[in-house]
């Protein structure tokens, strides 16, 4: 059997139909509707505040009634976000949020499920679950707050901490080679992969908006500042003054241009990316690599380039369509019902052969 793409999707499940109706029915909601009554408890100045704000802002866009939205998190500072969303929320255990989300979505395809996680929660203890939820194309939106540190436990190295980083647990510097979250997501066969930044509110909103509308497994890396234990981790390229020069904002179908003066770009030399300047030795936009969200090879290349050698790519790196886990489950269930008809418990219990013992 070859794998259906969304094009040739199995019929929508009854639940999904209900969603559609609700979509129509729903009264337009506002940001306020998504603010819970709980007092927000992050350190003053934490990047998490902005991510929360942008999340609350975009929620109304999707037309989902708020009771049909669920935020599931693991443990970490990031993990507190669900308490602040006036939706259904589940603050689970360290590293396992994606597993609960998988079961929830399988049981309730009508729900919109967001997973909030941190670089330790998602990539250290939770790495394997991330991998498998993504490959199954579970229709969940994993938002990973990457502050390159363990915040809640007060500052140990995470899988994204730079080599040699001095932390409480590595007084002589870490000796662990960091992993690229985007490369991992790619190997995990996630169907949408993106990156954004806590302080780039507009870009973050647009990214979350894309994410909210995607069907299938989503992995978003949000570069986040932990001003207590890893202040300025991303500053070199995210600061207002430098960001245009040091970040590459991706747009599907558009050449990869960056720089304050939009005069620099990425070109493939053979199959290797290089930075070129438009106008210099006759280089024009036509020479630049055009971003294709459907191309894993480009996605891989983008997942490997980073400041200071290259501008840091942000935006949607990859977007592929595949039938989702819940669609496939529903299809199999309905197919079974179609073939085997309605529930006949009696027949089920009898199974194969039976015999009578007369009274």
């Amino acid at each position: 059997m070859t794998e259906p793409t969304v094009g040739e999707q199995p019929p929508l499940s009854p639940e999904n139909d209900r969603v559609l109706q609700q979509l129509q029915a729903a009264v337009p909601l506002t940001r306020k509707d998504f603010v819970s009554d709980q007092e927000v408890r992050w350190c003053p100045g934490c990047g998490d505040y902005s991510i929360l704000a942008q999340t609350q802002k975009v929620m109304p866009d999707f037309g989902y009634p708020k009771e049909n939205i669920v935020f599931i998190s693991g443990i970490g500072c990031s993990g507190r976000l669900p308490y602040y969303m006036n939706t259904y929320g589940f603050h689970t255990i360290h590293g396992r949020a994606t597993t609960l989300a998988t079961g929830l979505k399988a049981a309730r395809p009508d729900l919109m499920v967001w997973v909030i996680t941190g670089d330790g929660d998602a990539l250290s203890i939770g790495g394997n679950h991330l991998l498998h939820s993504m490959r199954r194309n579970v229709d969940i939106k994993v938002i990973m707050f990457n502050n390159r540190i363990y915040g809640l436990t007060k500052g140990q190295a995470s899988p994204t901490s730079e080599f040699g980083k001095v932390t409480k647990s590595s007084p002589a510097g870490t000796i662990d080679h960091p992993i690229s979250p985007l490369t991992v997501a790619l190997a995990a066969e996630a169907s949408l992969i993106a990156r954004s930044v806590d302080t780039h509110t507009e870009h973050l909103q647009n990214t979350l908006d894309r994410v909210g509308r995607h069907k299938g497994s989503v992995f978003v890396e949000v570069l986040q500042n932990c001003n207590i234990f890893n202040d300025g981790a991303h500053r070199d390229f995210t600061d207002r003054e430098v960001r245009e020069d040091r970040m590459l904002v991706l747009e599907h179908g558009k050449p990869m241009i960056f720089g304050k003066d939009r005069d620099r770009g990425i070109r493939l030399n053979g199959h290797q990316p290089e930075i070129v300047t438009l106008g210099v030795d006759g280089i024009t936009e036509a020479d630049l690599l055009v971003h294709d969200e459907g191309d894993p090879l480009i996605a891989f290349m983008l997942s490997r380039i980073y400041w200071p050698d290259f501008p840091v790519p942000v935006g949607v790196i990859l977007d592929v369509k595949r039938a989702t886990h819940d669609e496939l489950l529903t299809a199999q269930r309905e197919d079974a019902i179609a073939r085997r008809g309605k529930v006949d418990l009696r027949a089920l219990l009898e199974g194969g052969e039976t015999w009578e013992v007369p009274a």
Binding site: S36, Q38, P65, K66, E67, N68, I69, V70, I72, I75, P82, Y83, N86, T87, Y88, G89, F90, H91, T92, I93, R96, T98, T99, L100, A101, T102, G103, L104, K105, A106, A107, R108, D110, L111, N128, H129, L131, H132, Q332, R333, D335, A336, I337, R339, R340, V343, L345, R346, L348, L349, E350, G351, G352, E353, T354, W355, E356, V357, P358, A359
Partner: protein, 621 residues
């Protein structure tokens, strides 16, 4: 040529009970043979009990000891509870099978061997210096030497088959012999062959011929002078089927979900001996059952909790090592107070232990294997058929009290089988669920005054949006709370909620005198052996009773009274004394344990003699 048919007279002997063990190489199809004999005996109306014994290896080298596969069936005209301590008849298809099993055959027992397999290499493989058939090492038994392989090959002559294929049918030749020997009809098996090999007529024909040839062989040759009759048992009237514990488990949960009007979600990771529950349930999609093979045990239970959070009946299943991995998430379920079923089909530990062997040694693990005080409900079926009932009970309790429930089966129950009187599903009660849709006055941790269950407010319910999690909860509101007194209160409430389940379960039943010299208290798959031993002891006129716990947490209300009503209390367990610890701690009775941790069920005789030892020993000060 086939053996010439000639009339002959054989005397018939009536027996109450017979135990046969089929033993051969993994490749010899002993499980099929045993299952066919079982079905036939069952359909005929005997009471039956079976014990398959698989090798640990998928396929150990042919003819090797680790490669021996066995299947024991006991069938009777009266009510029986165990597959029998020892076989009356041993069918040994090769030297390895003989060597591995002869020790269990009592003197005078009948031994049927396939002489063709007793070749030099095969004998060496298992370290037989001389051929046991030729030396007199077997003189204690009634030996029937039959060249099964050659006879069977002859019977199949002319069929378009490889020698290997032909050889694969010799088990049916042996089966045919046994059918003749015990006056059984070949029809059920012939019918089965038709169904199974319908699409491969040659194979079907071959198996039919093998079976009939074996039967004819019994009928015509001189070597058997008697054959035996085991009359039907007087089982309670009803429609019966043969069922294994894993089958009954899957059915029980599937039916319970229907009665609770909830979709069943089963998240699991394969592990012996629990995998078959996953396989079974994956065939119930048309009942709205969703099965999910997770990446590991943690993901499996995580997905089940997620499904329960969404309003489904979330279930997970595994064996001991998997429970260890699930314990952190089980604790989350305790804290968020969601219904959850955790199936533990126990096997021999510790660690990887002996994966295919039986043990009941996870009781303390499921009671206490979580950080903090984490009360959880525990039930355990006692027989394969009862797996259905206790599965139903597990669901009822989980939904009534909004709690995880551990369902403790084991390898012996899982693969063993017995005749099962099919319940009338329409008579089964509906299972009610504390789900909540009313907005006004909703509080996530408000409690039912009776059960202390919190409301089940599932996502999608307008107006009930709320947040839950693993941090301590404030009473009623469910908000995160670090208040010291609140924590103590919640600790007490969680414990009390589980304790109150006792209001809703049947008392512990006693088989035998209400008070007396000795109570034998058991749980799980030791039921059959204990009950049989107690029956024998009682017929000897001894003052011995049997009580068997199906509810292990909480205990039935009358448990204390029961254990305090006898001079001595004996608790036989296939572990080093786990229920024993709980009973002594709770009731301060000087109960003693009896442990034989050998990866297999107890023998009736060993429990019987231990009981006698205790009875005759001085009562302790």
């Amino acid at each position: 040529m086939t053996t010439p048919i000639k009339e002959r007279v054989v005397d018939v002997q009536d027996l109450e009970r017979v135990t046969i063990r089929f033993a051969g190489d993994s490749g010899d199809g002993m499980q099929v043979t045993g299952t066919q004999f079982t079905r036939t005996a069952a359909v005929f109306g005997n009471d039956i009990s079976t014990l398959p014994d698989f090798p640990a290896e998928i396929r150990a080298p042919a003819g090797s000891l680790p490669g021996v596969s066995g299947f024991q069936i006991s069938f009777s005209s009266s009510d029986i509870h165990t597959p029998g301590d020892q076989p009356d008849v041993l069918v040994a298809m090769n030297p390895a099978a003989l060597k591995a099993n002869i020790g269990d055959l009592p003197a005078g027992g009948a031994l049927i061997v396939n002489t063709d397999a007793f070749t030099g290499p095969n004998l060496q493989k298992v370290g037989y210096g001389t051929n046991p058939l030729s030396d007199d090492s077997l003189k204690a038994y009634t030996v029937f030497e039959i060249p099964i392989t050659t006879l069977n090959a002859r019977a199949l002559e002319g069929l378009e088959m490889t020698n290997k294929q032909v050889d694969l049918t010799k088990n049916f030749f042996a089966l045919g012999i046994m059918f003749w020997l015990y006056e059984r009809s070949m029809d059920p098996t012939l019918h089965w062959i038709g169904e199974k090999f319908g699409k491969r007529p040659v194979i079907a024909e071959a198996n039919v011929r093998a079976l009939k040839a074996g039967y004819a062989f019994g009928e015509t040759t001189e070597i058997f002078h008697t054959h035996y009759r085991v009359a039907p048992a007087h089982l309670p009237p009803g429609t019966y089927r043969n069922i294994t514990g894993n089958e009954a488990t899957a059915l029980g949960f599937a039916v319970a979900a229907q009665k609770a009007h909830r979709d069943l979600f089963y998240g699991s990771y394969p592990i012996t001996p629990a995998s078959d529950v996953l396989h079974q349930l994956s065939g119930y999609k048309h009942l709205g059952v969703t099965t999910f093979q997770a990446e590991d045990e943690i993901a499996a239970i995580g997905s089940a909790i997620g499904a329960s959070y969404g309003g489904a009946l979330g279930m997970t299943g595994t064996s001991g090592p998997g429970i260890a991995l699930k314990s952190e998430a089980m604790n989350l379920a305790v804290m968020v107070e969601l219904p959850l079923i955790v199936i533990d089909v126990q096997r021999a530990g510790p660690s990887t232990g002996m994966p295919t062997k039986n043990e009941q040694s996870d009781l303390l693990q499921v009671m206490f294997g979580r950080n903090g005080d984490s009360p959880i409900a525990v039930v355990a079926p006692a027989t394969p058929g009862e797996c259905f009932d206790m599965a139903f009970e597990a669901v009822r309790i989980a939904l009534r009290s909004m709690t995880p429930v551990v369902y403790l089966s084991d390898a012996f129950l899982a693969t063993g089988s017995e005749p099962w009187s099919i319940p009338n599903v329409d008579m089964l009660p509906d299972i009610s669920v504390p789900n909540r849709t009313e907005r006004t006055g909703f509080q996530p941790y408000a409690r039912d005054p009776l059960t202390l269950a919190r409301p089940w407010a599932v996502p999608g319910t307008p107006g009930l949006e709320h947040r839950i999690g693993g941090l301590e909860k404030a009473d009623v509101t469910g908000n995160v709370s670090y208040d010291p007194d609140n924590h103590h209160l919640m600790q007490t409430l969680r414990a009390e909620k589980i304790a109150r389940i006792a209001d809703d379960i049947p008392d512990l039943e006693v088989f035998g005198p209400e008070r007396g010299d000795l109570l034998i208290l058991g749980w799980g798959s030791t039921y059959g052996a204990i009950r049989s031993a107690v029956e024998r002891l009682q017929t000897q006129g001894r003052s011995v009773a049997h009580a068997h716990l199906r509810y292990l947490n909480p205990f039935p209300r009358n448990t204390g009274a029961v254990v305090q009503s006898y001079r001595r209390v004996l608790i036989p367990e296939v572990n080093l004394g786990q229920l024993l610890l709980l009973v002594r701690a709770r009731y301060l009775v000087d109960a003693v344990g009896y442990d034989r941790v050998r990866g297999k069920p107890f023998r009736i005789a060993e429990i019987e003699s231990e009981a006698i030892r205790l009875l005759e020993e001085e009562a302790r000060p």
